[in-house]
Symmetry: C2
Subunit: 136 residues, 2 copies
Amino acid sequence: MSGLLERLRGRGWRMTSQRRVVAEVLDGDHVHLTADEVHARAVQRLPEISRATVYNALGELVALGEVIEVSTDGRAKRYDPNAHRPHQHLVCSGCGIIRDVHPTGDPLSGLPAQERFGFEVSKVEVTYRGLCPSCA
Amino acid sequence: MSGLLERLRGRGWRMTSQRRVVAEVLDGDHVHLTADEVHARAVQRLPEISRATVYNALGELVALGEVIEVSTDGRAKRYDPNAHRPHQHLVCSGCGIIRDVHPTGDPLSGLPAQERFGFEVSKVEVTYRGLCPSCA
DNA sequence: TCTTGACTTGGATTCTGTCCATCGTAGGAT
DNA sequence: ATCCTACGATGGACAGAATCCAAGTCAAGA
């Protein structure tokens, strides 16, 4: 599963060596890296790449809808390339590990109209928290 | 509804003018202030209160379960004094305003056992996003 | 190959939050 | 009422995350 580069090219994303490396680092389904972790991995392939460029590229990938921004801990944001299948996150309160999960049903259905206060609700983010088997 | 000070005193929380002011600023059901906003309001009542003291007091109130930490935007954490009635949050993607909402049903029921990966899931945070009437 | 506007760079800056040594004080003890 | 002392407050330094900016570089179309 590696259509990311092709999709980006097809959408007119100007391809540079830096952007290619960032996209390659993220290409994989079960990764939740911080910007600095992405930068660290990018540096291994392209030693001169700067943090600002990584931040720029990540921001653009998010704007394009190819990557999802996840902030589960109030610390650094994480970047989730699994943007094509809707999912939620399960986070260990001990070690912080994150797993993608797929709840049943429509999460929007839990919010009655009188609880929407006139908002046009379009998205629901659910974070399940608990202890993973190793931390329990 | 203003039992916060009394509850804190009853739990042996050493009362100082600074802590009193922080608790008073937060005492109200529909407030979602950042630490700096709490500090700004506290300064109006007690001009010399320091940011560190506000952070300390907020951290203790969270540890006591009297205030909930909310981070809906990856920016500054917000502090929600409505800790006694379980609720979720509805956030405007335009202006960032936050409303407390009460979804129906048990949010945990949407996650089947085989999607829990052996975790002991104990808490669910739901953030509904959309446009408020003013921003739509 | 040339040209140009878009991209990259790295250092400065902002924002959020924590740490620490020192000073002050709430509240129990006398 | 006063004294003690452990706990809280202070503010400046520090740290982590992210953004900004001016100057240099380059991808890709002409």
